[in-house]
Every structure is written in C-alpha cells, then in structure tokens.
C-alpha cells in the first residue's frame, strides 16, 4: 500500500488537522456502511428481489464520504445514477434506501424512483438522476438559486467520466463560468464509461478536468482512495464556491469493483481480473483509511471488525425492513405527479389532469 506514503502532509492539512477521533471513526463507519449496503443489495438483486438496474458504488466510497463530510447547512448535493453512496453519506437511512430498491412504499421515493433515483431534499440531496449528465444543468441551477438568494453555500454536482462528453455538461460549465456560480463539479473518474475506456471515448486522454480551462474555471485532479486527500483538495473548491462564488471542476480518480451495472455482461472483459485485484489490494479506500486510524492509534483491529459487523447487520436489517414493507398501492401510481393535485389546491379542481379511460 505505497499510496499511504504520499499523504502524510494531507493528513496534516488544516481541514484534516482538527478532525476529532469520533469524526474519523464515523468516516470509516460510513464507508463500511456503503460497502455493506452495496454488497447486500447485490445479493438480493441476484436473488431477483429488485428490478431494473443496479449501479454499485463499491470501491469509490472515499469520494462520497470525503467530499460530503465537508458540507454544512447551506451546501447541496446532486449526482447521477450511481447514487447509493452519496445518499448514505448525506445521512439517508439504509432502510429507506433498501426499501426503494425493493420497490416498497416505505422507500425514499415511495418505490417510484428505484436505484437511480434516490432523493432527500430535507438533507439537501437532490438525487439520483438517470440520464448521463442530465443532472449537471440542475446542479448549476441549484448554485444559481443559492447565489440569487445570497446564501453562502455551494452545490456539489457529481458526474461520471462518461458524462464529460455530453453537451449539457459543457453548457453547464459555460453557464457556471459566465455567471460565476458556487458549484463544484466532481468527476468521479472510475476509468470506464460503461465498457468504453477513456482512451476510446475522450479526445483529451490524460486529464478530464482540464476541460475547465475552456470555460475559465479552476480545476484539480487527484486520487480518491485516501480520505485525507479527498477532503484536503475538495475543501479548496468548496471554499472557492462559498466565499468567492466561483465554480470548480475536480476530477477524482477512483475505481469501481463491479461492472457499470450488475447487468453489465462484459464487466470482466474490458478489463483484466488482475487490474481489479490490484485495486482491491493496493488502493481500497476503506483499508487505506482503516490503516490510517490504526497507525494513529485511534482504533484497534477488533474495532474495525466491530464497525464492519455492525454495518453488515444494519444492511441485513434494512433488507428485513424492506421485505416486510408494503408495496405501493395501485392507486399510488396516480399520486405525486402534480403538486397542485396532491395538495388538492384550488388549481387542482379546474380541468382534467389525467386521461385514464
């Protein structure tokens, strides 16, 4: 694990220096919870307990936990379809997330969104979006609203490396640069846009964030396996947004252990088993963070095992909650379409809104 050698200075960065033991242990717990949640959801997906797609976040945990750990009450999060990690990191419960995967009425979106569409506006988490880069104008708009309302906050807008070639992303960058919006675009570069490697999809091959220069936006590239590094480098962009209302692009290099989705039949064909194994043994974000905490004398081996055991238990409890939860009623199909209808306002009483014969 030679990556550890590079980062003691980042552990000493101002934003990390003040971390309390409880916070550091919470980061470990949050990463373990994401991993156990994903492993458990994979198990039940393969058992046929849920439909649709399942895009697992496994391997990328330090990105969501590290970046979101920096956020305060005026900061917002929006992401794409690989959204379980961010959801748990903002504080959504495993129960509401698992129930959503199981299509239950107790799910975070009442069983109406599924894996790609988790939402928690009360935690300033705006989804969960299925169309590649479709969330990037929305994240830009959230930042626009913050600036309009003179709120000193920021929006972290996550996207994958496959999203950087979509027009809406480039339009968003131009708008954010032009209007000086407090948004941080976080490219989680896991190396593959579905089955197509960067080399085969991007004209700029070595560095995705550098595209920021075309829009007069600050940028940075760094590794996403060490939470200290993620926090230290993301903090600069968050500060830039909050204090100067300026956008940034961060490219965080990470790796997903599973395919694009569980339905990715070629997941082991476009990359070698050795490559996947090398990431698991040398670059695993949970093991790197665990090593930090053990080296710092904050936890013992047994503590880690207990944290992991609790995470596994919590995930299994979430499955039990989901399985015992009711499905949405058939009548629920017609709810949550229009605000005015849901709230039975005066506006809802005029005219026909639905055309079922």
């Amino acid at each position: 694990m030679n990556t550890l050698v590079d980062t003691p200075a980042l552990a000493d960065a101002a934003i990390n220096r003040g971390l309390k033991k409880e916070e550091k242990v919470r980061f470990l717990r949050d990463m373990c919870r994401i991993r156990r949640f994903e492993q458990t959801s994979l198990k039940y997906y393969n058992l046929g307990k849920m439909g649709g797609f399942l895009h697992l976040y496994t391997g990328q945990e330090a990105v969501a936990v590290g970046t979101i750990s920096l956020l305060g009450p005026n900061d917002h999060v929006i992401t794409a379809y690989r959204d379980h990690g961010h959801a748990l990191a903002v504080g959504m419960t495993m129960e509401e997330c698992m129930a959503e995967l199981f299509g239950r009425a107790t799910g975070c979106s009442k069983g109406k969104g599924g894996s790609m569409h988790f939402f928690a506006p009360d935690k300033r988490y705006w989804g969960g979006h299925g169309i590649v880069a479709g969330q990037t104008p929305l994240g830009t708009g959230i930042a626009y609203a913050l600036k309009y309302k003179s709120i000193k906050g920021c929006c972290l807008c996550y996207l994958g490396d496959g999203a950087i070639n979509q027009g809406t992303f480039h339009e968003s960058l131009n708008l954010a640069g032009l209007f000086q919006l407090p948004v941080v675009y976080v490219i989680e570069n896991n190396g593959y846009s579905m089955g197509t490697s960067l080399k085969r999809s991007s004209a700029v091959r070595d560095n995705l964030a550098q595209r920021a220069e075309g829009y007069n936006i600050a940028w940075d590239v760094f590794k996403g396996e060490d939470l200290y590094e993620v926090r230290a480098k993301t903090q600069e962009a968050v500060q830039r947004a909050r204090e100067r209302s300026e956008p940034s692009i961060l490219e965080i290099q990470t790796y997903r252990y599973y395919g694009h989705s569980v339905a990715d039949a070629n997941a082991k064909k476009y990359r070698t088993p050795e490559e996947i194994e090398r990431y698991k043994t040398e670059h695993d974000p949970i093991q790197i963070w665990r090593r930090h905490l053990q080296d710092e004398g904050l936890i013992a081996e047994a503590d880690y095992e207990e944290i992991d055991r609790q995470a596994k238990y919590e995930a299994n409890q979430a499955v039990q909650f989901a399985e015992e939860s009711p499905l949405p009623a058939e009548a629920d199909i017609m709810k949550d379409v229009y605000y005015e209808v849901d709230h039975q306002t005066e506006a809802s009483r005029q005219g026909t809104h639905f055309f079922n014969s």
């Binding site: 069983g111 989804g127 479709g134 609203a145 309009y148 229009y338 506006a347 026909t352």
Partner: protein, 324 residues
Amino acid sequence: MALLTYREALRAGLDEELARDENVVILGEEVAQYNGAYKVTEGLWKKWGDRRLVDTPISEAGFIGMGIGAAMLGLRPVMELMFWSFAYVAYDQIVNNAGCVRYMSGGLINVPIVIRGPANGGTNVGATHSHTPENLLANTPGLKVVTPATAADAKGLIKTAIRDNDPVMFMENTLLYGEKWEVPDEEYLIPLGLADVKRPGKDFTLVAHGRAVLTCLKAAERLAAEHNIDVEVVDLRSIRPLDEETVLASVRKTHRALVVNENKPFCGVGAELASLIQEKAFDDLDAPVGRISSVDAPAIYSPTVERKQLPDPDRVIEKVLQLC
C-alpha cells in the same frame, strides 16, 4: 378596458408578477438588454435590472435545466424560448427533469417553472422554426400546457402559470403578438384548465386552441351570414389540464363538433379531443367528429403556399358544411 397587444398584455402580466414575488426571475436569450427577440420583455430589464432579467447564452438544454434546478430550490423562473421549436434541444431537461422529478422523488420535490415562447407556423421560417409541440408536451404527465389565443387570456394565464407550483409550458404565437384586444384594467387571473366559449351558438361546435380560435371565429361569422349556421366556438386555452366539461356541454347542445388546431394531425391535440367527444358524448352526436389540422408535412417555407398549410376559414367552413 385598455386596448393592448398580445405582447403588451403578456409583458404587463410578467411585470406584475415580478413586482409581486421576488423569486420570479426571467431568463432567456435576448430577454434583457436586447428587450426580447419578439419584444415581449421590452423595458423590463430597464425597470428590474440584471438580477431579475437575465440574458443567457444560446444553450437551451443548459439554461432550461439551470432554471429547473433553481426552481427545485424555490425560485420561480420564467424561461423564454425564442421559439418553442428550440425546446427540442432541451427536450431531456423538460421531460425527464421538469416533468418527472416530482414523481421519481415520491412527491418530495416540485418544479414551479414556466417555459414560454412562440409555438407556431405561418411565418415562413421553415420547418425547424415552426413546430407546435403542445401535443408532445401534454403527453408527459407532470407537465402542464397552456395556449392563449387573445391578449386578455395571455395576461391572465401567464400570471396563473407563474403562481402554479408545477411546470407550465406556455405557448404563444408570433402572428398574434401585434394583435390588439381589450384587456381588463384591474388585476385578474385565469385558472388553468378552464375553457372559454368565445362565441356562443346552437348549431355546431368548433373546438380550438391558440390562433386556430381566431380562424374559427372568422369562419363562424361567415357560416352565420352565408349559411345561417349558428356556430359555438370553444377556446380550450389550456391543453393540460383540459376543460372536458365545457367541450362536452357544447357538443350536447349542438350535436356536431369539429376540432380545429394548427398542430399536426397524427397523435395531435385534435385526435385526443375527437376521442374524448366520441367516448363521452357519443349518443349526442348527429355526425362524426371532424378534425382540421396543419397539412401533414413539415412546415413549407414558400410564403404564399405556407398560408394554405395552416387551417384557414375556408377549410373550416367546407368541413362544417360536410358535417351538417
């Protein structure tokens, strides 16, 4: 009652809502310093300044999506599309984000946005600038679609659209912007989903929306004078929500109906209305429900010929006589 053009009435509605609610912000191409490509927003930038009137780059997908994101956080953006035809560039943002995010979040989010601009043919700008997407967008549950035909309706409806808590697609018409109508002096709102009988009659029902309403009114005058047929003209005003009752009440009275619109025929608004009438007023009908739409081809450029592509009073009269 003041005599106002359609664009002046719209502008007055926008101005009143800018004054009423600080969260209302107008964004779009050329809406501010240029005074609006069709001058709907003329003078508003001078009055309200850079914060409330915002010129955007030519990035329909980007800025419409930005407006949707801002609306999720509680702003009430009024987005101008220079032409509704350009909505096709932003289709994913409109349908997937504005139209579906409330549903996919289980009702946790709502998007109080208005997207407005002209949606019409007849101005010799070729097919790319002449689309009428009211049927396409009304096909998305979650969106609302409004198509005012007169200045008074335009003002009353834009104010309601801005106050509505759901995404409203507001479709105007460049051929109407300079036309004048009487507009009430006092403040008023017109609910979405409320049709208006623009001309009462007892013999025949014409159902229309947008500029086709005016075509129908002209046809009705001639049908009365030349053929002694007393035609009722029902202006839908809003496509979704749809005032079915006013349409059906008229058909139950006249027993004959023709749906007239500038939409294309296949899967168009006329198809929906014809289905509605035959299903819910079948026993009242003395003739099949007729439909007149734009001629079913992309909008032709050639100025004189394009006039014949849109429904005109001659075609309406001919069809009414066939059905009588």
